[in-house]
């Protein structure tokens, strides 16, 4: 079989396919998104984006009870959304193999918090696997499915950003078809509370058996070193340990819950000093200390915040400081794409004296300069509830800004609640037909599935009306007057209102591949008034004579700069200059 350079996430998908997974669900979230996108390329797997992680988990749970092998994917905070099901599922246990991916994001590259989901797994009493490279990402999915079926338990496979988003070599295998297991309805196992007390001891018994298994499980691997320094480690941090402490004895834990107590004791007894090197919280370290072992060092030395790296370990071990970056290098924060339809909304919001509760998506950038027109961002779907609360705290003109995908994910119940409880908020629904921040995944209001098939389109206007909002209007997001006018009217409306700012994400293939006639600046007319620069479009550059000029190859013909030009000096180039955007 051939070897290929695969992303950790691609390797997880490959592992699911090779292991006979037939159903896979999830909700996009960095750093987990590529798993389902890769799985969707295999016709033998029903891979799908669900409305949110809870729904994805429940669909997976049903498919597994029904006898299929299942993979469910989400980022760390996604498991909070799915936690209700996650906590309950272990009681009944599973039928077909069930692995849930928890992609944790230490360093918060694309997240609002750091969260070590091994603690959630411990709370749910679910075993946790932690691979260290892409090959193991593939292999551990297969291992997880086998453990899941043998022990009748959901299994968590925990990744962190660097593991999910690194590439390394993977030996490719063939798919092994796995027969669907028979589903036996069993009220004592799958239904009512009066029987749950019968299941409860089974959960403890299972954990104990898994703990025993961990004492001999091959993925909990010891690598001989001297008797001086030993390292207990897991995940991607293992590769950093090998880099920085090549001579040390290593206990690499592939299964970090439940932990193999006897092995931990024996390993620590054999070494003078043991470092625990794990990304995230002191999960292993605390367990080691709870065994009464005291010759360990972990978070106090290596730190609990952010990602690990070989350089960080080196510095923590006083093995030499690494060169620091140059101080005060001009930052380059991300920004809205060329032609992004969100710009007009935030520039209109900036003009209004309103309190804006934002949500999770590209539009979090509306909080940054030059807009500074979004005042809170918490978690998925929080914009609406937060605005309702702000209103209760005396802010009279509150606006929620939420994207279409986030609205489907968890905004809808909040809107229902806002109407029910008498809010007068104005909800701006940024409808770009996709889940933009994670790279453009379709959802229920996009009109297609993960696998590119046509799908029924959720009618967002009807949904808002059904929630009880009478004032629902749709505006063209690239029309500045429509956007600003729509917002003013909505704010003037007594009672809740919704402005749907509609226009497809420029990153979608249908937008990227369309022919556009780029705009250009007519220097004979331009007065260098700077108005177009205030659109903050990356395609508008400055000439040495301080004239704006538009990079034709990048222009999406969104027209916004032409709308702000007071002397009509910006207009489309001749038709013959039509260009494919990218």
């Amino acid at each position: 079989m051939s070897r290929e350079l695969l992303l950790g996430n691609e390797a997880i998908a490959r592992g699911a396919w090779e292991s006979g997974v037939r159903f896979a669900s999830g909700y996009p979230g960095t750093p987990s998104t590529e798993i389902l996108e890769t799985l969707a390329e295999f016709p033998s797997v029903e891979a799908r984006w669900s409305a949110n992680e809870k729904v994805a988990f429940e669909e997976g749970m049903g498919a597994a009870i029904g006898g299929l092998r299942v993979l469910v994917t989400m980022k760390h905070v996604g498991l909070n959304v799915a936690a209700d099901a996650f906590m309950v599922f272990p009681y009944s246990g599973t039928n077909g193999g069930f692995v849930v991916i928890s992609a944790d994001d230490p360093g918060m590259h694309s997240s609002q918090n750091e969260q070590d989901n091994r603690f959630l797994a411990r709370m749910a009493k679910v075993p946790v696997l932690e691979p260290s490279d892409a090959q193991e990402c593939k292999d551990f999915v297969g291992l997880g499915l086998e453990l899941s079926e043998t022990y009748s338990t959901p299994v968590m496979l925990r990744t962190t950003t660097r593991l999910a988003h690194h590439k390394s070599l993977v030996e490719l295998g063939e798919r092994h078809e796995v027969e669907r297991r028979a589903f036996e309805p069993d009220a004592r196992r799958f239904s009512v509370p009066i029987y749950r007390h019968l299941l409860r001891p089974q959960v403890e018994d299972r954990l104990e058996r898994l703990r025993t298994l961990g004492e001999t499980l091959g993925v909990n691997r010891e690598e001989e070193g001297g008797s001086d320094i030993g390292v207990i480690t897991s995940g991607i941090a293992y590769t950093y340990v090998k880099e920085v402490l090549p001579q040390a004895g290593v206990l690499r834990l592939g299964m970090t819950y439940p932990l193999p107590d006897e092995r931990l004791r024996a390993f620590c007894a054999r070494h003078r000093l043991v470092y625990v090197v794990e990304e995230g919280e002191a999960f292993i370290e605390e367990a080691v200390r709870a065994l009464g072992i005291s010759n360990v060092e972990g978070k106090a030395r290596f730190g609990v915040i952010g990602e690990y790296s070989p350089g960080r370990l080196r510095a923590a071990l006083s093995l030499g400081q690494v060169p620091a970056p140059l101080p005060n290098v001009l930052p380059r924060p991300p920004m809205f794409c060329i032609g992004c339809g969100h710009r007009t909304v935030f520039s209109a919001l900036r003009q209004l004296s309103v309190t804006v509760a934002g949500d999770i998506g590209c539009y979090t950038m509306g909080a940054l300069p030059p807009y500074e027109a979004s005042h809170t961002t918490f978690n998925m779907g929080a914009s609406i509830g937060t605005a309702v609360g702000l209103e209760q705290a005396g802010h009279e003109r509150v606006v929620s800004v939420i994207g279409d995908s986030t609205f489907v994910h968890s905004g809808i119940p909040s809107l229902i609640d806002a109407v029910y409880n008498g809010s007068s908020l104005t909800l701006v629904l940024l409808d770009n037909s996709t889940t933009g921040m994670t790279g453009g995944q379709p959802h229920a209001a996009s009109g297609k599935t993960l696998r590119g098939r046509p799908a029924p389109v959720l009618d967002l206007e009807a949904m808002c009306r059904a929630a009880g909002v009478e004032d629902v209007r749709v505006v063209d997001t690239w029309d500045r007057k429509q956007v600003a006018g729509g917002l003013r009217q909505a704010l003037a409306h007594r009672g809740p209102s919704v402005v749907i700012a509609r226009g497809a994400c420029q990153r979608l293939p249908e937008m990227r591949n369309r022919q556009v006639v780029p705009f250009f600046v007519d220097e004979a007319l331009c007065t260098r008034c700077e108005a177009c620069f205030k659109v903050w479009c990356p395609a508008i550059l400055r000439s040495e004579q301080q004239f704006p000029f538009i990079v034709a190859a990048d222009c999406t013909a969104c027209t916004v700069c032409a709308q702000v030009c007071p002397v009509d000096a910006i207009y489309p180039a001749a038709e013959e200059h039509a260009e494919v955007v990218e």
């Binding site: 590439k167 390394s168 090998k242 070989p310 380059r332």
Partner: protein, 222 residues
């Protein structure tokens, strides 16, 4: 084959194709039979932000992450980004800088604050810097966006990867429609290195000749 682990940093602005350049380099190293790891560090996926990609290859590679002070080559696709990631270069390493300035769009007064002297600042730190007009070379070939492949061509002169590895990788990775132009861009990068004002001795294991025939010098670009 070398046991030494080579560490590379690709630094650029989202949309510049730094990731593709890194990927082509990683795949060429795979073809050459090395163990390879690669990782991309960036926040959200929009255009316009800083993007850094790490590539490491050699006999056995553990960490995908390059440590500051360890990179054999820092490939800066843009001057400010070269400045930002210059500290990754090893004492004996090289910073290749594309002579292009992209002013950050979302920072107030960025045009005034932009470090026009980025190369001087890097040199003042004692780094070995080679400035290459990669964007101009790519424009001369029809599309400035191929600057990434020009830079990869320049990088290739410093790495122990065979011509065959690069040829096959570009063949495999670049769609046919763009392949010829990208091959030319790669070749142009090799030529730029040969002409560089502060030349760096080519890796003794590297290809001295352009992969698509002719010596890697200015005459072979056309």
């Amino acid at each position: 084959m070398t046991e030494k682990v080579y560490s590379l940093i690709f630094a650029g602005v989202g949309g510049q194709g730094g990731l593709l350049g890194a990927e082509i380099t990683a795949l060429a190293a795979v073809r050459a039979g090395y163990d390879v790891k690669q990782t991309e560090v960036h926040g959200v996926s929009q255009r316009g932000g800083s993007v850094e990609t790490h590539v490491r290859f050699g006999g056995k590679v553990w960490s995908p992450v390059v440590t500051p002070g360890e990179a054999d080559v820092v490939v800066g696709l843009e001057k400010l980004e070269a400045l930002r990631f210059g500290h990754y270069v090893a004492p004996q390493g090289v910073v290749l800088v594309n002579d292009q300035e992209i002013v950050p769009g979302s920072v107030a007064n960025a045009a005034e604050a932009y470090p026009r002297d980025a190369v001087d600042q890097l040199r003042a730190r004692g780094y070995r810097v080679v400035v290459l007009a990669a964007t101009q070379a790519a424009r001369d070939l029809g599309d400035g966006r191929m600057a990434n492949l020009v830079m990869v061509g320049a990088l290739a002169t410093l790495l122990p990867l065979s011509n065959q590895s690069w040829i096959e990788t570009i063949e495999q990775r670049i769609p046919e429609k763009f392949r010829r132009a990208n091959q030319q861009a790669f070749q142009a990068g090799m030529a730029l290195m040969a002409q560089a004002a502060d030349p760096v001795p080519a890796n003794p294991h590297a290809n001295r000749h352009g992969p698509w025939g002719g010596r890697a010098e200015s005459g072979s670009v056309a």
